[in-house]
Symmetry: C2
Subunit: 202 residues, 2 copies
DNA sequence: TCTTGATTTGACCATCTGGTCAAACTCAGG
DNA sequence: CCTGAGTTTGACCAGATGGTCAAATCAAGA
């Protein structure tokens, strides 16, 4: 195991390669379905070498998830209480949709974890995520009180945004099986924009 | 392996117990994450005994999926071109939501399979499912042409219904981590009803 | 160049897992 | 109560998998 001094050039490079390879493998096969050998070979390392940088498969997975949670929640974090309500929400939705498009592996990593009961990130959900959502729900509720947007159940509003946008990353195969060659996001963007505009217009 | 005569009383009972146990285990852990021993013990059988009824783990999974696909698509199948457009669509949504509530294991079984690229049901998606969706899209499009419902991208309309309703089953842990004790479906039902009423009112 | 810590690896291990098999047990019909 | 088909199981196997370790190799500063 590398000492915990300042990481060397090689340590930085290899840790990064491992995490990227792990993201590929975990997002495609889930935690149980991923093998250390697979991650190692995708990272261009031997298995013992990989385990020189991370003590276990579990440790890689944990490092990945906790490193990406921040990225994952950033779009919601950026929802600004001082902006125009409708535009803020629509912009949030566009950011989420763009993440599904550009970071589908990250989306599926979380989807895999959640659909199996989130055994490894349950704490983060009911602490960090809940706190963030609660704080934004306060803002949404105020906007509704002020008549800036229509009154709807604010928690379900957020759930619906997650569901709609992440669907395109998580269930990509299904969407593509039905749409054929058409780019899913081409139609998705105007669709969700219209949907939330109609829902939230007072 | 049981002969393929008429199944005996014991065969019927054990096959059913195995499929129910397999649904529990596969939906909670995915194909790779499930073990034959786990399914066997949940079904109250020894592993060799279980493999007397199904030739392999794969066979159990296939039997489950193909047996449930029909159930899973039934709500969309029931969308009636002769009914009132708005009521038909809202009823379809309620049926889907009810399935998430009453058959969450089934939902997660498919979610697990899809999120990992649907390696075992890809054919069913691009054949049966696509054909069904295409046929219903024709009906939706006609309703839009007739001005009975607002014009939106019909495929994305269907995707959005799947996303919104299945979210409550597939990502149940996340929803509950945020809502606490509140029953998710209590708020979800009026929320989605309002959402699609606003979206589809011409 | 030499030294020392960082890095890499081949060989190995224990456990888990899907699956097999022959022997034993159960049970309904004659 | 026999008998033969249907059912169940303990013991076992081969391959996969997570992880270890001592020895070998490399790299950078003195």
């Amino acid at each position: 195991m590398p000492k915990d001094r300042a990481p060397t050039r090689i340590q930085k490079k290899n840790r990064a390669m491992i995490l990227d390879a792990a993201l590929n493998v975990f997002s495609a096969h889930g935690f149980r379905g991923a093998t250390v050998d697979q991650i190692a070979s995708e990272a261009g390392l031997s298995k013992p070498n990989l385990l020189y940088y991370f003590p276990s498969k579990e440790a890689i997975h944990t490092a990945l998830l906790s490193g990406l949670l921040e990225v994952w929640l950033a779009p919601l974090h950026a929802l600004d209480e001082n902006g125009d309500p409708m535009e803020e929400i629509l912009a949030y939705i566009q950011r989420k949709l763009q993440m599904s498009r550009e970071l589908p592996r990250e989306s599926r990593l979380f989807a895999n974890e959640l659909v199996q009961g989130a055994p490894r990130i349950h704490a983060a959900l009911s602490e960090d995520l809940k706190a963030l959502v609660d704080s934004k729900v306060i803002i949404l509720t105020r906007w509704m009180d002020q008549g800036k947007i229509a009154r709807v159940h604010p928690y379900h509003l957020i759930f619906s945004i997650w569901a709609l946008t992440q669907h395109y990353a998580d269930f990509d195969v299904q969407v593509r099986a039905i749409l054929g060659d058409e780019d899913p996001f081409e139609g998705a963007e105007p669709f969700v924009d219209l949907l939330y505009r109609k829902l939230l217009t007072p």
